[in-house]
């Protein structure tokens, strides 16, 4: 007989908002999301075990015992020169084990989203900026400029938790939401449906953000493609009246533009300049593969956020030399250990390299990896800590079921 458990406040591990108000019911190793959290319910439930889930370790296509898979991994690593540990989403304890393992085997460690991570980190390292967090934005922001639609597709609950909150400490009137870019009618309708904000939607090419911000900062009423004069005047009026403006974006949204670095720099400069006489701040949204958790933990343990290698007793950083994509494409590594605990999406396997995957049981592959060890999901199958998109808040993840799958830490500590 299986028992049913109702869990009221699950902390969601699957996106960088890490909402901790998810109600779930567990039964038969499955979980079901309560009605309340409908926006993400489908997505969260899609991470459940399904009929195709792999729950036993495999060497090639052969099911093996865990001990056999671990022995094989040890032998593979011993016999090769260069091992890359590629992080596709891991919690804090897993990261600690990755670094410990890498320091014993002189491995390279990188996050699969490093190139996006460096877009936002780059601005910290070149000029810096004025930043804010989710709760500040919820309570204080009277105008929020959203550059690009990924902010809302990647973190959909930003809408009900931050943009259109039921309660707010300081905002007495409706928030002004300024959408810059190509937002779907569904998203706009979703925000409008909350009825707690005014929306201005400018379908501007993201390449023109720099020019748009220059227009905002001056008295110029020059026109840009996709921007009407009346819209420009309206936005200027909104921003002039605002007491706390927040700008938000995702770095990955700008990858398709001609110069992502320039766009992020322009947004940050615009916000910094506003602070001369008023208050404004940036709130970049990070990736959904625990990018922030990786960046934070690696930074305090090594000084560097990603792209590191253990050499001569210490971790060294080189953004180009230890760029995982480049290393794999150019076959400059012998073994790649992919670790992917929260994303069951299709994993790209380069057949010319030995691939070991510690992954979500639903993970699919472009081709069969040499070894696959299914591992549990932090926040579902074991406890852990992850960092939220705004960097300052980290959350405790709970264990809600017991399907006897190991964690990243269990596997790597066993191999060490």
């Amino acid at each position: 007989m299986t028992s049913q458990n109702n869990i009221k406040n699950l902390t969601c591990p699957f996106c960088s908002m890490h909402c901790d108000d998810i109600s779930v019911t567990t039964k038969n190793d499955q979980y079901k999301v309560g009605q309340k959290n409908t926006v993400c319910a489908k997505k969260i439930e899609s991470y459940n075990l399904n009929t195709k889930s792999i729950v036993m370790p495999m060497i090639g296509k052969k099911v093996v015992k865990l001990s056999e898979a671990l022995k094989k991994i040890s032998n593979l690593i011993k016999g090769h020169n260069e091992t890359l540990i590629l992080n596709h989403g891991v919690e804090l304890a897993g990261l600690r084990s990755i670094l410990s393992f890498a320091s014993q085997r002189n491995c390279i460690v990188d996050h699969v989203n490093s190139k996006f991570l460096y877009q936002n980190i780059g601005i910290v390292q070149r000029t810096g900026y004025m930043a804010t967090s989710l709760t500040e934005t919820k309570n204080r922001a009277d105008a929020i400029i959203i550059f690009g639609n990924e902010v809302l597709t990647k973190t959909p609950r930003l809408i009900d938790k931050v943009l259109t909150p039921k309660d707010s400490l300081f905002s007495t009137s409706k928030k002004e939401i300024i959408l810059i870019g190509d937002f779907s009618a569904k998203i706009v309708k979703n925000i409008k449906g909350k009825g707690k904000c005014n929306i201005t939607n400018i379908k501007l090419d993201l390449n023109l953000i720099d020019d748009f911000l220059k227009l905002l900062a001056t008295d110029d009423l020059k026109l840009l493609k996709g921007l009407k004069k009346s819209e420009l005047i309206k936005i200027k009026n909104i921003l002039n009246k605002s007491k706390y403006i927040v700008a938000t974006w995702t770095a990955s949204d700008f990858v398709k533009t001609l110069n992502p670095k320039k766009i992020i720099a322009a947004i940050c400069k615009y916000i910094v300049d506003l602070n001369v006489s008023s208050r404004a701040a940036c709130m970049p949204i990070s990736g959904i593969l625990a990018d922030e958790t990786s960046s934070q933990a690696l930074t305090w343990m090594t000084g560097f956020p990603s792209s590191i290698k253990h050499i001569d007793g210490a971790f060294k950083h080189d953004r180009n030399a230890f760029n995982s994509q480049k290393l794999i494409d150019e076959k400059n590594v012998d073994v790649v250990i992919h670790i992917s605990t929260i994303n069951p999406g299709k994993l790209k396997i380069n057949k010319d390299i030995t691939n070991i995957v510690l992954g979500h049981p639903n993970t699919t592959f472009t081709s069969t990896p040499d070894i696959f060890i299914p591992i549990g999901i932090p926040g579902i199958d074991y406890e852990g800590i992850m960092f939220r998109t705004d960097k300052v808040v980290s959350v405790a993840l709970k264990k809600i079921r017991d399907i006897k799958l190991p964690s990243t830490q269990n596997i790597l500590d066993n191999l060490a």
């Binding site: 000029t127 930043a131 967090s133 405790a396």
Partner: protein
């Protein structure tokens, strides 16, 4: 196993022992009396040419939390140090591993992060858990959070405020409470650019004085050993000694600890509008019984300033070197600012800052009230401590450096007239016994029976006092030899020191509603349990006693 440290020159100010030839016995990580040595002595260490002191304690060093990590991230170009045995992270923003190695090699065995944002407590503790060797802890920031300011605006009772303070100590696993620029960080979020001690904030209508009054009272009522740790209003502004004195008065005679007081002891005399007010501040320090301070000495060279004081860090961002900076408003809880900075010996202002810090040390009549800090890394990295000790113990060395600084500063400082040289016993007080006493760490900073066997042993034959303090012969942590002649012998992991005064749990109901309405996380997720600290964050918790049972 029993270890005997035989015939060392012992400095143990807590027990009024100064330079006395003595044996120290260690069993199971603790110090034991000779009379209680009942079994065979397993190891005898000859200390006849050694100086023995308790392990040193740094009560104010920024070693963990969001702003420290921003600095690490921002200053990548400085992470190129090539000292063998360490990673390349810069000592001004070192990795957790390097932090632990550098501290233990200097004989420091316990350190405290003074600006632990409650909302960021999980991260700060996780970072500190990854620092090897040392015991650690933090002081939770209050006084700029909207919940607290709303309590004051609503004229809530002192008892309610005490409940909130006690809840924060427990929920964030902290040892003390710090207030940074009382009310100023919050006012900055409402676009106020300054807030003097008796100036009302525009939104809440609360003055910094009221905040200090309420918080010092709460700490006193709760019996928390460490007094309110105060980063005063107007940090770094010429003439700020007046607001520092007003902050002292705001405590109404209750215990108060002013931190990095060097940055708060500035006059505005002279043609440059900047002068030393160390004499005025020292007069208060010497006169008022319940007042303690740490200095926050500056040293010349590159560093990075990091503070919860976003108001003052934003004001200072134009001085950033290299030219980059970051400030952040944080979760209706606090703020932070990170601004790299280079103190230049040719600069009148920087040279005078250097002199002001030393003046405060040398004018302090009671070494139990003044603590040796550089406010790492704000004034200088903590690795400057041996140099700072030499400056205090050797007036010729001090004056030689003073003579190389801009001559104009001599019109604004009395440093050149101060002949005092600190003794080894006084150094032992200000780096061991006094911080242990002011923090309420009964088993630290002394060599009494039952105390932690955290011991630093120096070679007394070393001629250079800086060299002696930089490289102890032996460092013992929890009874284990962890450093011997500069080499790491064994890795150990310390614990987190906290204090948990009683409080009425019904405040959690109100806080729960506040979180539900205004925060973006649940109260349950905000609270750090002992179990989570131990299993997930990575550090066991040690609960220190309060001085007495709660008064109100």
């Amino acid at each position: 196993m029993i270890t005997q440290l035989k015939s060392g020159n012992v400095y143990d100010p807590h027990n009024k022992i100064s330079n006395v030839k003595k044996d120290i016995f260690i069993q199971d990580g603790k110090i034991i009396d000779k009379k209680n040595v009942r079994s065979k002595i397993d190891k005898i260490i000859n200390c006849s040419d050694k100086i023995i002191m308790p392990g040193a304690i740094d009560l104010h060093t920024h070693i963990g939390g969001g702003k420290v990590n921003i600095a690490r991230l921002m200053l990548e170009e400085f992470h190129n140090e090539k000292e063998p045995g360490y990673d390349s992270s810069a000592i001004i923003a070192p990795s957790t591993l390097k932090t632990g190695l550098k501290y233990i090699e200097m004989g420091y065995t316990t350190c405290f992060e003074p600006a632990l944002l409650p909302i960021n407590a999980r991260q700060a503790h996780a970072e500190m858990s990854d620092i090897p060797f040392i015991d650690k802890g933090g002081y939770a920031l209050l006084g700029n959070d909207d919940y607290f300011l709303d309590l004051l605006r609503k004229k809530s009772s002192q008892s309610t405020i005490n409940d909130y303070v006690a809840f924060i100590l427990s929920a964030t696993q902290s040892l003390g409470i710090k207030v940074v620029n009382p009310g100023g960080i919050n006012a900055f979020k409402f676009n106020q650019r300054a807030l003097n001690v008796d100036e009302k904030s525009k939104y809440y209508g609360i003055t910094p004085r009221e905040i200090v009054e309420k918080l010092t009272r709460a700490i006193y009522d709760l019996g928390v050993p460490h007094p309110l740790h105060v980063h005063c209003s107007n940090l770094g502004i010429p003439g700020n000694f007046l607001s520092t004195i007003e902050t002292i008065k705001a405590a109404n005679g209750l215990p108060i600890h002013l931190t990095h007081i060097q940055f708060q002891s500035y006059g505005n005399n002279g043609d440059k509008g900047f002068s030393s007010a160390a004499v005025e501040i020292s007069n208060y320090l010497n006169k008022i019984e319940n007042l303690t301070c740490d200095v926050g000495q500056i040293m010349f060279g590159q560093t990075v300033t990091m503070s919860g004081d976003s108001m003052s860090q934003y004001r200072n961002h134009n001085h950033a070197h290299p030219n980059k900076w970051m400030c952040m408003d944080i979760e209706c809880d606090a703020g932070c600012g990170v601004v790299p900075f280079k103190y230049k010996d040719k600069s009148f202002v920087n040279a005078l800052q250097w002199a002001i810090g030393l003046e405060i040390f040398l004018l302090a009549e009671d070494p139990w009230k003044v603590f040796l800090t550089t406010d790492h890394p704000n004034g200088a990295p903590f690795t400057s401590y041996p140099h700072l000790i030499k400056l205090l113990m050797d007036k010729t060395f001090r004056n030689d450096i003073l003579n190389q600084l801009p001559k104009e500063i001599l019109n604004h400082t009395i440093l050149h007239t101060l002949k005092r040289e600190y003794t080894l016993n006084e150094i032992s007080i200000m780096t061991r016994s006094a911080p242990a006493k002011i923090l309420g760490l009964k088993e630290k900073g002394n060599l009494s029976e039952g105390s932690d066997a955290d011991i630093t042993i120096y070679d007394k034959n070393k001629k250079d006092i800086e060299e002696m303090f930089a490289h102890p012969s032996l460092v013992i942590k929890d009874g284990k030899i962890v450093v011997e002649n500069g080499k790491i012998k064994e890795y150990v992991w310390g614990k987190t020191h906290t204090v948990k005064p009683d409080y009425d749990k019904s405040i959690e109901k109100d806080l729960g509603k506040f979180f539900e309405k205004y925060h973006t996380m649940k109260l349950d997720n905000y609270i750090l349990s002992d179990d989570e600290m131990n299993r997930l964050v990575g550090s066991p918790v040690y609960v220190n006693d309060c001085k007495y049972k709660r008064k109100q």
